[in-house]
Amino acid sequence: MKKIEIYDPAMCCSTGVCGPSVDPKLTKISRQLSILESKGIHVERFNLSTETQAFVENELVSGYLQKEAELALPIAIVDGEVKKTKAYPTTEELAEWLEIEERFLTESKPVKSDSRFTILD
């Protein structure tokens, strides 16, 4: 089973809603990671401000932080190999690294039956 780890910069929430504006890249990666997980990929995601220990324990990540400080983030690691730093992976990259068809990452399907948000649709 493939494993992907994402080390995020310090942030309040994973979609970036709590920032000054919503960064669509954050929303996209959050959703795509959640799809990958449903496809059986092992996904781990760490936020610098709340899961600091993970950044210190991972030698690769720690090394990047020592060299390039927080500017190295976000960092994407697949099966123990650093694939990308300073930016989130694109749909194509995720598909290639994890050997999954791109369409799985872009197709639409209901995530939850929760009806709380239907008024906004």
Binding site: S49, T52, T106
Partner: protein
């Protein structure tokens, strides 16, 4: 008809919460209640979560986040939780282990994130909840009293348990705004217990404290309804500070009493449904256990203070207007706690600038929407009055975000985003953005902004700062208005901050704390406005005379502290027809 407030004769449950606008006497009432119950043999714990707490002023002893028994009343223990301090402890404990392991700039980027309003709220909430749920503490006391934060803050604090335990339920993936809360996520059961305790009338009573003052009563009504909607339905109303005239020749005293009586007619039907108690007017500030006791017994401040102090000298509003109008344009903020009359001061500044021929845009984020009514008769083409309604702005922001991002996201991604937009942070961002928008789109010479009560204001400013720091590396679309606002706020040439307060203990302390918070954010208030001061009005009534003399001390203190202090004489305020609400 109101009954005299006499705690031992009231059947109080285990938990008692005091809530109300700043300066209504919440702390005094909570302290007097605590002393009174302790005097009757009850073991009482008094907890303050008010960021502007003045427990130390009342008891003359210092307290911190661990409870300590009073020297003068051994059965009474006091805890003082300062949300800012609690947040600082929370931050420090999170960062300390990594200070030597990560580069300094990485630590700084973490600090920035944790400096947000969320962390403060969470830290305060956490200390608060622990007292609601700690069975060990419960065994040691017969009553636990919470002298809670000013209204807006209180509501957030009390609403959070419900919002968050709901949030944890609906977020099995554990994503989202629980970020800074993740360390506490294991406490879900405790949150639920806290929510249930608050809603259990057998365990919890909410005392709404108000002055016989229209805005305070309006605020009490609002908090009461909001809390009732959260199932906190066991409530009483305490009207604090009823004045009875002793010198019928004194026109000011007559007007003072009339003002109170007229204000009392505005009590809503909703509030009337609760048992109502009254407390007498105490012109002298209540300090010490003895004074608290005699106040409850109705014996406080009946005699005038005979001193021959020199009246403190300050500027007048005309001087303030003259100063502001020198440049011909600018941003004017009136800041201060709720109930100090900053809306009236903002309106007066706006009207005066209009009279000088300048065009003025007056706007407010005050949820109580006090502005519109002040201008029903003062109509001028030069004056524009707008109101920022947090609820409406949040809805609009939510929709605009969805629209902005919808072309880049598929349906699932949008759903994911909608989920996060449901978080408590969204409102703050929305309000901030609309506020920036008002500033940007105003073409008037002056923009006068009547900001919300202090807690709220600080959150707003805090957000401004952290947004600004983040803007440089954020990839999202940041509106020009937001980018432009912060430098403008710090520019003393463009921005004039007026701190509005009343010449009384709590309001002055609160204003001083506000000022130091603003200074930390590199914002420097220009003027202090001492509103509604009896010290510059001729009075003969002994009780009001005592009040005027006490007020003079607070004016004096402020004049010594700040160079530009304007004093506004006490004046009877028009009462709004109830139907206009």
């Amino acid at each position: 008809m109101e009954k005299q407030y006499d705690p031992p004769n009231i059947d109080f449950p285990y938990f008692l919460f005091f809530t109300g606008k700043g300066g209504v006497g919440k702390t005094s009432t909570a302290c007097a209640t605590a002393v009174s119950l302790a005097d009757r043999g009850k073991r009482v714990l008094l907890i303050s979560t008010d960021p502007a707490s003045n427990l130390q002023d009342v008891f003359g002893e210092d307290f911190n986040h661990e409870y300590r028994h009073l020297k003068a009343v051994p059965r009474l223990a006091v805890v003082n939780i300062d949300p800012e301090e609690a947040a600082e402890r929370h931050r420090e404990s999170a960062l300390a282990p990594y200070r030597n392991k990560l580069p300094a700039s990485v630590i700084r980027s973490m600090e920035e994130q944790m400096a947000g309003a969320c962390t403060t709220e969470i830290a305060a909430f956490d200390s608060f909840t622990s007292f609601l749920c700690d069975s060990e503490v419960k065994d040691k006391f017969d009553h636990i009293l919470f002298d809670t934060a000013p209204t807006g803050h209180t509501l957030r604090l009390l609403q959070l348990p419900k919002a968050w335990s709901g949030f944890i339920d609906t977020n099995p993936e554990g994503a989202s705004c629980l970020g800074p809360l993740s360390a506490l996520a294991g406490k879900k059961e405790m949150y639920e217990q806290a929510v249930n305790t608050l809603a259990d009338g057998g365990q919890t009573l909410l005392a709404l404290v108000s002055r016989p003052d229209e805005t305070a009563l309006f605020e009490a009504d609002r908090s009461s309804k909001e809390l009732a909607a959260l199932d906190v339905k066991n409530q009483i109303l305490i009207i604090n500070g009823l004045f009875e005239i002793t010198d019928s020749e004194d026109d000011t005293a007559q007007a003072f009493m009339d003002q109170q009586q007229e204000s009392l007619t505005t009590i809503s039907d909703h509030l009337k449904s609760f048992t109502t108690f009254q407390l007498p007017f105490a012109p002298l500030s209540l300090t010490g256990v003895g004074e608290l006791r005699s106040w409850l017994a109705g014996k406080h401040g009946r005699e005038a203070v005979h001193t021959h102090e020199v009246a403190a000298e300050g500027f007048e509003m005309d001087d303030v207007i003259g100063d502001l109008s020198e440049k011909g344009n600018g941003l004017v903020f009136t800041m201060g706690k709720g109930g100090v009359g900053k809306t009236t001061v903002a309106a007066s500044v706006a009207l005066n600038l209009v009279e000088q021929g300048y065009s003025v845009h007056l706007t407010t984020t005050d949820p109580a929407e006090h502005l519109s009514r002040l201008f029903t008769e003062n109509h001028s083409d030069l004056l524009r009055v707008t109101n920022i309604d947090p609820k409406r702005e949040t809805e609009a922001y939510r929709e605009s975000v969805l629209e902005e991002t919808s072309h880049e996201l598929n349906e699932d991604e949008l759903n994911y985003l909608k989920e996060d937009l449901d978080s408590p942070c969204t409102e703050e961002i929305a309000v901030f953005r609309s506020f920036a928008d008002v500033v940007m789109h105003s073409e008037e010479d002056y923009i006068v902004i009547d900001t919300a009560p202090t807690g709220h204001t600080l959150l707003l400013l805090d957000s401004t700062l952290s947004y600004h720091r983040e803007i440089e590396r954020s990839a999202g679309h940041v509106p020009e208005s937001v980018k432009n606002l912060l430098p403008a706020l710090k520019d003393a040439e463009k921005t004039h901050i007026l701190i509005v307060t009343l010449p009384e203990a709590t309001p002055v302390y609160e204003a001083e704390r506000l000022e130091s918070d603003l200074k930390r954010a590199d914002l420097h208030p220009k003027w202090w406005i001492m509103n509604q001061s009896l010290s510059v009005v001729p009075v003969s009534d002994p009780v009001l005379k005592a009040k005027a003399q006490v007020e003079n001390k607070w004016v004096q203190r402020t004049v010594t502290h700040a160079s530009k202090v304007a004093i506004i004489p006490w004046k009877k305020q028009a009462i709004l027809n109830k139907k206009q609400r």
